[in-house]
Amino acid sequence: MDTVTVKELKKSYNTFPAIDGISFSIRQGEVFGLLGPNGAGKTTTIRILSGLTRPLSGTATIMGYDVVSNPVKVKRSIGVVPETSNLYPELTCTDNLVFAGRLYGMSAKNVKAKADELLHLFGLQEKSDVLFGKLSSGMKRKLTMAAALIHDPPVLFLDEPTTGLDVMSARALREVIQSLKDRGITILLTTHYIEEADRLCDRIAIIVKGKIVTIDTPDALKKSVKTEKAIDIKISHFPYFIEKDFLNITTAIKYEKIEDGFRFFINDIDTFLVEISAFIQEKGLIIEAINTVAPSLEDAFVEITGLKKEAMVQEKGSIK
């Protein structure tokens, strides 16, 4: 069953097309990623689905409710974590959550219990009486996510959830997202971190300049990359004077030195392994590690979009 359905959605700012006829659907319990550089249209898509901005044309439904004609029902079905953690700095963590819950119509008793549960889930129980403005960036992000979950929404929108966070906070937040997925919450996640999309998403839509270029699972996207097969081999105490003998390995097309060993480009893994094993034995060497080299999602992104991977870290508005 599709929880979110988007058809031919368009939105322009002045004459600039922010999103240009995008279509996708998200199944119940799925983590769906919108992956693209800054300015690709990810946030605009979330804003339309959240009822903050009206589309120029096209339709979008969430849990069967149209986002334009039935915004209140839509808002009851979703939790939104915007790009900036915009709770109230002057209110405590508990007060922020209680205020959010009360606006969803929850009773004072229920909302307090739910707030306590969420503070515990996000490891913020010690901070319940601390002002939101006094929290670290990572904690602010967590509390913003907690506020989005206060009414137990079946659908959660996460707009660049880990942007600006330190490594530890980002990792902790990804673990929370994973746990939400395990609870069966449908998640729409926008990110410009390729690795994050790879790790968290069931399916990914790559979006560039307001258009969706492709939608598939991370594995399928990786498999679609046309790269040469390769194997990385690390040999202990490798005597470099015998490196020239690698040229005699006929099943390797070519080889190159990498950080901690050698990468061999090959046609057939089985015949190469037989030959390299014989070579290693003949030279009296010891293999420390051997790995097949699979194309990464980054390789897929670069090949599919024609963009350099650096495009993903450019500031908003600078993508050409």
Binding site: K73, V80, L91, A100, Y104
Partner: protein, 243 residues
């Protein structure tokens, strides 16, 4: 209907908790009217009691509009207003909540000033009911005016500056110092477009002076109409900015 009123109450309470003591609120909403009152007392202590109803109306105007500049413009700057729009509440409910918070702030400040003035210059209010009703209705009207100004600008200082474009002419043209009936006929229509004119007319009557413009019920009705116009305009502008 019940949930709408509840949401208005929740938003107003949140604003009061979060913003009552923000610096621009204290300077423009509390200190400015206080300085104004002191300045007029020092200028002519003997005639000061005649100015009390008008000065109380003025403190109501400044405190409510200052509060709106904070609760709307400041929240727009920080993105917190957008957060409110994510909840299942209408734009009208959000603005009604913000106007209510501003109105309560204005009423509180005005009654603090009133208490101080009563202690220092013992006087009594002749028509207490009219006074209370005038303060309550005017606070919502002025707060709605503040909301209308605040949704139209981006920064808090812009909201305060634009508010002053409305507030300062009102000081001189709304019958506080010069009776509206004594104004040149070319200026009179401007005075009639200012909500403070109707508040001062009611307040003066409540303090035992003659009303100048019209019966207080009509004055209050005009103030209510002003409040709805400002609310509707604010909603229209905010929705326009969203889309």
């Amino acid at each position: 209907m019940n949930s709408t009123i509840r949401n208005i109450y929740l938003i107003a309470m949140k604003d009061m908790k979060a913003y009552y003591f923000k610096p621009p609120n204290i300077s423009w909403g509390i200190l400015f009217p206080l300085v104004f009152i002191l300045a007029f007392y020092l200028k002519s202590p003997m005639e000061f009691s005649h100015l009390i109803p008008g000065l109380l109306a003025l403190s109501l105007l400044f405190s409510t509009t200052s509060m709106e500049a904070i609760v709307i413009t400041f929240e727009r700057m920080t993105g917190a207003l957008e957060r409110l729009l994510l909840y299942p509440v209408s734009v009208t409910t959000i603005l009604a909540g913000k106007i209510s918070g501003g109105a309560v702030f204005g009423i509180t400040v005005t009654f603090v000033f009133l208490s101080g003035l009563i202690i220092i210059f013992p006087f009594h209010i002749k028509d207490t009911l009219l006074f209370f009703v005038s303060v309550i209705i005017s606070s919502f009207t002025f707060s709605a005016l503040g909301a209308f100004v605040s949704v139209s600008v981006k920064q808090v200082f812009e909201a305060q500056t634009l508010s002053n474009l409305f507030r300062f002419p009102m000081i001189f043209l709304s019958g506080l110092f010069i009776p509206v009936n004594s104004l040149p006929s070319i200026i009179k229509p401007i005075a009639y477009l200012m909500p403070l004119t109707y508040t001062i007319d009611c307040m003066k009557l409540a303090f035992g002076y003659e009303y100048q413009i019209m019966h207080p019920v009509l004055n209050l009705a005009v103030l209510i109409v002003f409040a709805f116009i400002f609310l509707l305009l604010s909603v229209k502008i905010l929705k326009g900015r969203m889309s």
